[in-house]
């Protein structure tokens, strides 16, 4: 029988759907009977969701203005983008500036 203590260690596996069918049933059975563990799981979910809703931190205006200038310059130079990409563009992850 799954204990509350064990459950607090596997709540993320449960939330992420990374659990065998039987293990999941065990967790759901436990949660169905255990109010504190339901509260614990809700709080874990709430913590994660609240992190996602923290007020945004916009970029400092001077840096943003500088970037927008570069962006505008590139767009102007690039009004007609090439239809075929040059071969070195296969590496999406590492465009050197």
């Amino acid at each position: 029988m799954l204990s509350c203590r064990e459950l607090t260690e596997i709540v993320t596996d449960y939330a992420e759907g990374r659990m065998s069918f039987w293990r999941r049933l065990e967790v759901q059975f436990h949660l169905g009977m255990c109010h504190p563990c339901r509260a614990y799981l809700r709080q874990m979910r709430l913590a994660a969701q609240t992190v996602g809703q923290l007020p945004p931190e916009p970029m400092p205006p001077d840096i943003k203005a500088e970037l927008l200038k570069r962006f505008a310059a590139l767009s102007a130079a690039d009004a007609a983008p090439p239809t075929s990409a040059p071969p070195e563009t296969q590496t999406n992850r590492t465009p050197k500036s």
Partner: protein, 219 residues
């Protein structure tokens, strides 16, 4: 039941279709689209860069360099990857090369290994011998993100809890919960396994929840 309890109910912040539309606007020189993109990602990007570099100023430099790289790379970007994954991939490269210049290069895998957080999710003293709660978590009056964030001081407590996380946990939580990336995207950006990603996420969320619990008890 699963949907009700799932922690990760947040949808991805954009779909590949959104990516294509955004990409078209960016390539068309839409400055407003670019400004919105920059602002939306600034906070998470600075936090992620700080995992690698010396201080906030160096992190902001890395973010700026990243956008310069993004602007330069936009005409050549091929939407096989998600736009977000591409941008964060550049950021990790920029932050790491900045760290190297400052003489403190640490590969992310080393940070993962150094994450010696073996603490139990919940203090053992809160359980009885059989593993059942002796000191169970109290129900929170604030049971939505909105009501939590409307509580004076809660946002600061969460921010401080994130800042206090060990680097590898901070990186994963920043990408998953602050940025809204999927576990697959996080694994690609940080080049870690799904299991490592999940373990780090678990430890990080556990600490943020504990910080909130402590804060709400004192209210």
């Amino acid at each position: 039941m699963r949907a009700y309890y799932a922690v990760t109910t947040r949808p991805p912040s954009s779909t590949p279709d959104d990516d294509l539309a955004l990409l078209a606007r960016l390539r068309g020189g839409d400055a407003q689209a670019f400004a919105t993109l920059v602002d939306r990602h600034h906070g998470p990007m600075v936090r992620l860069a700080q995992v690698f570099v010396r201080d906030r100023a160096a992190a902001e430099d890395a973010v700026q360099e990243t956008w310069i790289g993004v602007i330069a790379g936009l005409p050549r970007f091929e939407p096989r990857a998600r736009l977000k994954t591409w941008i964060y991939g550049i950021l990790v490269n920029q932050a790491r090369s900045r760290a190297r210049r400052d003489g403190r290069d640490v590969p992310f895998s080393a940070l993962v290994e150094a994450d010696g957080d073996v603490a139990a999710a919940v203090d053992a003293a809160r359980f009885k011998a059989g593993g059942h709660w002796a000191s169970p978590p109290a129900d929170w009056v604030q049971d939505t993100p909105e009501s939590l964030l409307a509580t004076r001081g809660a946002a600061e407590v969460i921010g401080a809890a994130i800042d206090a996380l060990p680097p590898a946990q901070r990186a994963v939580l920043t990408l998953r919960d602050l940025e809204g990336a999927t576990s697959e995207e996080v694994c690609n950006i940080l080049e870690i396994s799904e299991i490592n990603q999940r373990v780090l996420l678990h430890r990080a969320r556990t600490r943020v929840r504990a910080a909130l619990e402590q804060f709400l008890q004192k209210k």
